[in-house]
Amino acid sequence: MTMAVVPSSTVEHGPARAWHSFRSMLYWHLASLRIWMMTLAAVQVLSGVGFVLGISLFFKHIPTSAALFVSTGVPVINLVMVGLILGPQLVADQRSNGSYEYLRSMPVSRSVNAAAWYTVCLIGGVPPMFVSLVVAWLRYNVPLHLSAMIIPAIVLTSFAATMLGYALAHAISQPMATRLITQMLVFVIFGYAPVLFPMRQMPRWLGTVNWWFPFRHMATVTRAALTSGPSPGLVTSYIVLGAWSVLCAGLALRALGRRP
């Protein structure tokens, strides 16, 4: 028989427990990804850098304004990729292999678990974002002006994307449906949201549709923090992004706590 222990006789709530759980779950999430970490880092960097460099293959001469748009749009892709695309796919895998049940049975509050995963998304998104910016600056010599507003822009963009992904992951019980929807989102962000190109190049109706979705606003707040000059609609974009974040966080936490 092993050393004797006394089973826990206490139920703990409060900040100390939350902080302990947060650190444990942050380690859990990071360690869970470690065998794919190099691949993930490569995919993140290559998707950003690849787009920055690849766009010059399409056009012989790229106007500075277009180069600036691409250079300030790619960081948004880097920021949202982990939380919006990878996160739901990981949860879909957990549902498929049966480990989702164990993870939901862990004695960690839903909000603390979400906070730990959001931190992972920041860790996975911010470094590739800056790599993409440096490569863009070296390749196009675009006039970037990094302001302190980059901090709230990163925090909110990543949070909105992570919570949207978290809501999709936990509210949709069919893993295949989750995978299909995340694939569709990649398609939407690259092709039908004004992230890598200006909205004036879109049909008016598509611009109106985009106003209600978060991707355009992610690009607006991030671009405003990376460039000088006027940023029309910046406050509105922060408000819309904040609303999406709150809505998605609420949906995600509700889905996680759902007991059929």
Binding site: M1, T2, P7, V11, H13, Y27, S99, P260
Partner: protein, 336 residues
């Protein structure tokens, strides 16, 4: 050596529970419906601290549904689930703190080293680093899995993964430890070590709810057991009390020849079940000679290859109650 893991993180808001409190696990009138399907039908049971309580039943009996309601993954249609003075249905966060759980599915440890997974599970459950580490080492040694201590999960065999999963549930155990098929894929030698550690959890004061198909193993290791079938609790008691009904009975097991239909059973045969080529029935002690003659005639006719007559086991009570063999893969309809 006694290590108290219950004074960890003296956080504000900590709810201390007096040591003398009744920590029994009680399920009262639990009913769970999915539309017209009644997965749990008015289940009532009680597990005392220190007790290893087996929950037996075939697939679809409602065992996992009961467990999921206990740890806050499902909401009962009616009834109560309490642990000590805590209402686990009303407060699923508390349920998850007070219950540790080994699910039937594999644990998500592909990227973790075995020791790391166990330690991390202990840390997530609120354990102190040094105590969790010491307990982890002790469990690894007790289950004889030291050679895989630093191996990552994706390189572990199913049996070793199962043992690591058990350690994750036992490293910092809750007042209720729920183990769903803990011995699946585990080799016979380490099964014995595992049962010893399951008993040890009881000795530490945990209530252990053991969900299993394996009646023969459970018979040797549980204090009490309940048998579930079609959502109902069809029997409850000690292994001896459940066997008492079959005390004047014998077990006749006939191994049918490949490709043979099930023979017509004589009127003296009790409830019978066939799984694969294995036909099992109970007979009265007075019918022993008749039973042997019948089995021998099947062999003479080429219908059967061999037979065995033995004392009844808990499995015979299980067959009587559920019309299933334990550990069966392809059950056929029960026969009179």
């Amino acid at each position: 050596m006694t290590s108290r893991l219950d004074h960890l993180n003296p956080a504000t808001g900590q709810q201390a529970v007096a040591g003398g409190d009744d920590w029994s696990f009680r399920v009262e009138g639990l009913t769970k419906r999915f539309g017209n399907l009644v997965a749990n039908d008015d289940i009532t049971l009680r597990v005392e601290p220190g007790e290893v309580y087996g929950l037996l039943g075939p697939n679809g009996a409602g065992k996992s549904t009961l467990v999921k309601q206990t740890i806050g993954l499902m909401m009962p249609t009616a009834g109560r689930i309490t642990l000590g003075r805590f209402d686990l249905v009303a407060d699923p966060d508390t349920a998850r703190q007070l219950c540790s759980y080994l699910p039937q599915a594999q644990m998500p440890i592909e990227a973790f080293r075995a020791r790391e997974a166990i330690e991390l599970a202990g840390r997530v459950r609120g354990g102190r680093r040094t105590e969790v580490r010491a307990r982890t080492d002790a469990l690894i040694e007790a289950l004889d899995i030291g050679e895989w201590r630093n191996e990552i999960g994706q390189k572990l065999s199913g049996g070793v993964k199962r043992l690591v999963g058990f350690c994750m549930a036992a490293v910092c155990p809750g007042r209720l430890v729920i183990l769903d098929e803990p011995t699946n894929d585990v080799d016979p030698l380490r099964r014995r070590l595992l049962w010893k550690e399951i008993r040890a959890l009881g000795a530490m004061g945990c209530s252990v709810l053991l969900v299993t198909h394996n009646v023969l193993e459970a018979e040797k290791s549980v204090d009490h057991l309940a048998v579930m079938a079609a959502g109902k609790l069809v029997a409850e008691g000690t292994p001896s009390s459940l066997k008492s009904t079959d005390r004047s009975q014998l077990r006749l097991q006939v191994m049918l020849a490949p490709g043979q239909e099930t023979p017509v059973l004589p009127s003296w045969a009790g409830v019978s079940t066939r799984v694969g080529h294995n036909l099992v029935t109970t007979i009265a002690e007075d019918d022993a000679a008749t039973g042997i003659a019948w089995a021998a005639s099947l062999i003479d006719a080429g219908t059967a290859e061999e037979y065995a007559l033995s004392a009844t086991t808990l499995e015979d009570a299980y067959i009587r109650l559920t019309s299933h063999l334990s550990n069966e893969d392809d059950d056929e309809a029960p026969r009179r």
